[in-house]
Each structure stands twice: as C-alpha cells, then as structure tokens.
C-alpha cells in the first residue's frame, strides 16, 4: 500500500486519481505528477532539469 503525502495527510494511493505530464523548452525539461481526491488537488511534485546555466563574457581592451 503506497502512501502519498497530501494536503490531507498521508493517503493511500489507491484512493487518489494520479495524473502525470511533462514539459520541455530550451531552458528546462520537467515531469510533474499530481494526485487528486475527488475534484481537489492534494499533491503536486515536479522534477525539473535545467539544460544550461549563465554565460558571462569578459573582455579587455587594447592599450593603443
């Protein structure tokens, strides 16, 4: 019996409706999972992967 942490405490997963999805763009990709009790969202988790960070350019100038 898997228990899911929800806004209503630990609930048996079989009592809940599970929904999953994913998103992907140039900055990140992610997977989400939701658990619903009747028509109420009681749990949502997200696993996000950043694709890249920040690039800082540095430069120097000619003396002459």
């Amino acid at each position: 019996m898997a228990l899911i942490t929800t806004t209503k405490g630990e609930l048996d997963e079989t009592l809940l409706e599970k929904r999953t999805g994913s998103e992907d763009n140039e900055n990140e990709s992610l997977q989400w999972v939701e658990y619903w009790l009747d028509s109420e969202l009681v749990h949502r988790s997200v696993d996000m992967q950043l694709k890249k960070g920040i690039n800082f350019g540095a430069d120097i100038t000619n003396l002459i």
Binding site: T5, R44, G53
Partner: protein
C-alpha cells in the same frame, strides 16, 4: 616567440575562488582556506531578482514549508575548471562551475515560483539568479537538477 593579448585564463578561476580584491574594500581579507557557504533561495514569480540583486532578501521568497527554511538550502559548487587547452587569446577558454547536487525540497507547498538566487551566505553577496517556468508544488517534492558541468552548459560560465 610572440606575446598575445589576453585575459588570463587563470584569472577566471581565481576570481571564482576569491583570489582578487580589485576595489578599495577596506578590511576585506580572505584568510581562510575553506570554501564559503552558499545557499539557494527560491523566489515567487512576483519577486524582482535580477542582475542588480546584491544580496539575499526575504522579500517575495517562498514561505517556509516542509524541508524548505527561509534562506534556502545550503549548496556546494563543483571545483571551478576550464576547458583544455587554456587559450592564448582572450575569450578562447571558458571557466565553469555548477552546483554539485540537485536542489531537493520535500513536503513542500508553494505557488507560482520561478527563480532561485544563489548567494554567498558567508560574505552575504549575491552570486546569480536562475529562472525557469513558473511552478506550483502542493505537499510534494521539487527537484531542480543541474545542467551538465562543462564549458557549454555549466551553471556559471565565464568566457
């Protein structure tokens, strides 16, 4: 042999390791050989974290819940490195570093957050702001996995 104008590659690594004090920062002496403590605070989409951010602020930070405490979790960096070989011309090498582990917050509830501020908790100085699509977590886990640590995708790259 000929000299080549360049921003020394070693400088980029040393800058990340706090080896240079360019300004007249009176009293700023780095006598320690230990790494500073860094943290990653999570911010709501209504916050204004950006290049002008100088230090951690609790304004518009997500509220404390589950494993998330004000100020965010402590994070560590992979030792800064450079792509080889070190270039002889300015901009030819890239120095890079990335957090050594994913940021994971459990039993967490927050609505519409879209950024993290990584800051030096030892010196109270901001490091970088990283944004992503707005997210909502409900009594769940938020896992933010870092990109590959190399010269093209590292979390912080100096070219």
């Amino acid at each position: 042999m000929a000299n080549t104008q360049a921003l020394c590659s070693q400088f980029k690594i040393d800058a990340l390791n706090g080896q240079h004090v360019f300004g007249a920062a009176a009293g700023f002496v780095r006598g320690t050989t230990a790494a500073d403590t860094f943290k990653a605070a999570i911010y709501l989409a209504t916050a204004t974290m950006n290049a002008a951010t100088t230090a951690y602020s609790a304004t518009n930070e997500v509220g404390a819940s589950g494993s998330y405490a004000a100020g965010g979790p402590t994070v560590t960096w992979i030792t800064p490195a450079q792509n080889a070989p070190a270039a002889t011309t300015n901009g030819g090498s890239t120095t890079y570093t990335t957090l050594s582990a994913s940021i994971v917050v459990t039993t967490f509830t927050a609505t519409a957050f879209d950024a993290i501020l990584i800051y030096n908790a030892t010196t109270s100085k901001a490091v970088s702001v990283h944004t992503f699509g707005s997210q909502t977590i409900t009594a769940g886990t938020f896992t933010l996995t870092m990109p590959t640590n190399d010269q093209t995708t590292g979390l912080i790259r100096i070219t």
